[in-house]
């Protein structure tokens, strides 16, 4: 059974909505800046969504006195765009909502905890009620009016890829006809300090795939796709989700293996499942975080699969940061447009290739290219590696 992508929605540090995001790429406008969302001792660049919670609530016509985690608010923006874009009538068939997040409502929990820590009778309960990962998903589902299959995936940085995969399989196994899938994560002190304690944040603007790369920059945002079975499609889809794979590398709790075994296995399995020959993959959206180990192992895995005939490739992380649980939601939406409009995205801050692998990414925005198939990677903590393959649809 074939799975079609009929809607996309994105909010990120470079814009609200798919159009604004593409415009930012076109004009090479990245979203990095100082942390403004909360007070912090850390001085590192981050890619924040440039709206306050109050502004987002207004945009969504939500009551301003109600408390929502930023994770839920960002998710609502992107999921709403995706659903509207698809023109799917949610009452016409079995529609599900599968969202992913790595921190859930931590942006509010950390406010609660400061007061709670002083006196455990203190702290506003409405700021801890959204702590769990399921909260943002239920808020978004309720906002969209979806009551069917609703659930949440959390596998760190590959979360959204796994949400997309679950959605596709639920359609194939006849549990659903259509599903909104993706992820959302708000920037918070907890995550920023977590990555800082791991010493993988670059104090400068990150440089994915460059030989001088020294770490990642964090970002926030949300991205969703609408997936549908063929029989429910009423308009020309963007593309097809033709392959997907999830594999645990079982190498280290946080680091990737130097030879990129997990990356190799997940890409290879996704390609095999689709039946697409390697040579017709025209673009790879890299996980490309900018950490020394990720980019090296991902590059090695790509060389192992494609040999000397490596497709066009790039990482968007220097534009939008690493958005963790949202990253493959956002980047899958970019990948869908890559297939649909023949777009390849610029890899900012690239100067010198990595010595061992020599891969040279795309450095300027191009569109109207012939892009038949796009491979998109996301690799996370816990050894979770996932790859998705999007393919153009010419025959429906």
């Amino acid at each position: 059974m074939r799975i079609f992508v009929t809607g996309i929605g994105v909010v990120s540090g470079i814009g609200l909505g798919v159009e604004e995001n593409i415009e930012a790429f076109r004009h090479m406008r990245h979203g990095m800046g100082k942390v403004t969302l909360f007070p912090t001792e850390l001085s590192v660049p981050v890619s924040e969504v440039k709206f306050t919670n109050e502004e987002i609530k207004k945009n969504l016509a939500l009551q301003s006195n109600k408390t929502y985690s930023r994770t839920a608010l960002l998710g609502m923006l992107a999921a709403k765009e995706a659903l509207n874009d698809s023109q799917l009538d949610t009452s016409s068939c079995r529609v599900g909502f599968i969202s992913s997040t790595s921190v859930g409502g931590m942006d509010l929990s950390e406010n609660f905890f400061i007061q709670f820590k002083e006196n455990n009778a203190k702290g506003r309960l409405r700021e801890i009620a959204s702590h769990d990962c399921g909260d943002s998903t239920e808020r978004i589902a309720s906002y969209l009016g979806i009551q069917g299959f609703v659930t949440t995936v959390s596998t760190a940085c590959s979360s959204a890829a796994n949400a997309i995969m679950l959605g596709a399989r639920l359609i194939k196994n006849d549990h659903l006809d259509a599903v909104i899938v993706g992820g959302t994560d708000a920037l918070c002190k907890f995550t920023l300090n977590g990555f800082n304690s791991l010493m993988i944040l670059d104090k400068e603007h990150c440089r994915p795939l460059d030989n001088s790369r020294a770490g990642l920059n964090l970002g926030e945002g949300a991205g969703y796709l609408v997936l549908q079975s063929q029989k429910t499609i009423t308009q020309q889809p963007y593309c097809e989700l033709s392959g997907y794979a999830n594999i645990n590398e079982a190498y280290h709790q946080t680091g990737s293996s130097p030879e990129g075994l997990g990356a190799y296995m997940s890409m290879n399995k996704a390609i095999l499942q689709s039946g697409v020959p390697e040579e017709s993959i025209d673009y790879i959206n890299l996980h490309g975080t900018g950490t020394p180990t990720n980019d090296l192992s991902e590059s090695k895995a790509i060389k192992r699969i494609f040999g000397e005939r490596v497709p066009l490739l790039s990482s968007v992380k220097a534009f939008i940061g690493h958005t963790l649980g949202a990253s493959e939601g956002i980047e899958a939406a970019y990948s869908v447009l890559s297939v649909y409009k023949g777009i390849v995205y610029p890899n900012l801050n690239f100067v010198h290739p990595i010595e061992e692998t020599g891969l040279i990414p795309v450095t300027r925005f191009q569109e109207g290219l012939k892009i038949r198939h796009v491979l998109s990677n996301s690799f996370g903590f816990g050894g979770n590696n996932s790859s998705l393959l999007f393919s153009s649809v010419e025959d429906i």
Partner: protein, 316 residues
């Protein structure tokens, strides 16, 4: 044609003695005997130890290369590590933080540790959605078997600590309710030599607000698996002592299943997001031990928002 899904192996770490308590802790084994990697074990928080040990126990008759998928579920994830990192962050004013509690605060830590310890290079995913966490894991496991997997490891774990207990109390969620914790793991297979119980079906739905709608859902669910209400020998419900919410279960018992045998599980394991994993463990045990029971239906709801149905049957 759906593949059959046999529950071929089970393991559980759950509370045992708990009369009159408002908070029940799982009765934990001696982890040294189960998690033999001392370095890893020392860094593990309680939920990680419970989950990993339980998974290892359930897999002890399998080699790692036989396991095609590792699917884990947790409603609140690794609370103690989250709290530890949050405390350090505030106390040290964001300086010189130990990364271990941060690394171990992510909900997929247990799934990752299982893969790492057993070297399982396979599909690995974690669901974390309140009263749907474990149910989603089961649905995924059934789909994996249907897609060709032979052995799928699926399980859930939850830890309760003083902080989460206190917060739930302040929220007024514990009126008459005993909170609990535990871990259960299962190896689901596409074949069984011993006519083991089968995981037949799982269904989840959000707030319905109407009893008629709930009854309709249950009837449709049973009909999908070719069963009538009378075929349900045992109805196992998630009664937790919360008066208003338990009424929903009582009504279902009386109106739909007047002749079934009634069972509960939260009286033992307490209330928590993935308590239904303990129900599946209990139902499997019941089917393995009692030759007369054929179909067990588990109906659970979490705060009357997440409703789930799990059907476990045995061919007689």
């Amino acid at each position: 044609m759906m593949q059959k899904c046999y529950i071929n192996s089970v393991a559980s770490i759950h509370p045992e003695e708990n009369e009159g308590c408002s908070l029940v802790h799982a009765c934990e084994p001696d982890y040294k005997m189960i998690i033999t990697n001392a370095g890893l074990r020392r860094r593990m928080s309680r939920i990680i130890k419970m989950g990993v040990a339980c998974a290892l126990e359930s897999m002890k008759h399998y080699s790692s290369s036989q396991i095609d998928a590792v699917i884990t579920a947790t409603g609140l994830g690794c609370l103690s590590d989250t709290e530890k990192f949050m405390n350090a962050l505030i106390d040290n004013e964001e300086r010189m933080l130990n990364p271990t509690p941060f690394i171990q605060s992510t909900p997929n830590t247990i799934g990752g540790q299982i893969a790492l310890l057993c070297q399982i290079h396979a599909y690995n995913v974690t669901y974390t959605h309140r009263g749907f966490s474990f149910e989603t894991a089961l649905i995924d496991a059934m789909m994996r078997i249907n897609e060709g997997d032979e052995h799928v490891l699926v399980g859930a774990m939850e830890e309760i600590n003083e902080t989460s207990h206190l917060i739930m109390k302040r929220m007024g969620l514990l009126k008459g309710v005993k909170t609990g914790e535990g871990a259960q793991f299962f190896v689901i297979g596409n074949e069984s030599d011993e006519n083991n119980p089968q995981l037949k079906g799982v269904e989840i739905f959000m707030t319905l607000g109407s009893e008629e709608l709930l009854e309709k859902k249950i009837n449709e669910f049973l009909a999908f698996y070719g069963l009538n209400k009378e075929d349900v020998d045992c109805l196992m419900t998630g009664k937790n002592g919360h008066q208003r919410q338990d009424v929903i279960y009582v009504n279902i018992e009386n109106r739909l299943f007047p002749n079934a045998f009634y069972s509960t599980f939260k009286n033992t394991c307490g209330e928590y997001q993935t308590a239904s994993a303990f129900a599946v463990w209990k139902a499997t045990k019941m089917l393995n031990e009692d030759g007369m029971i054929k179909n067990v239906l588990i109906y659970n709801h979490y705060n009357n928002i997440n409703h789930s149905l799990i059907l476990i049957s045995k061919d007689i």
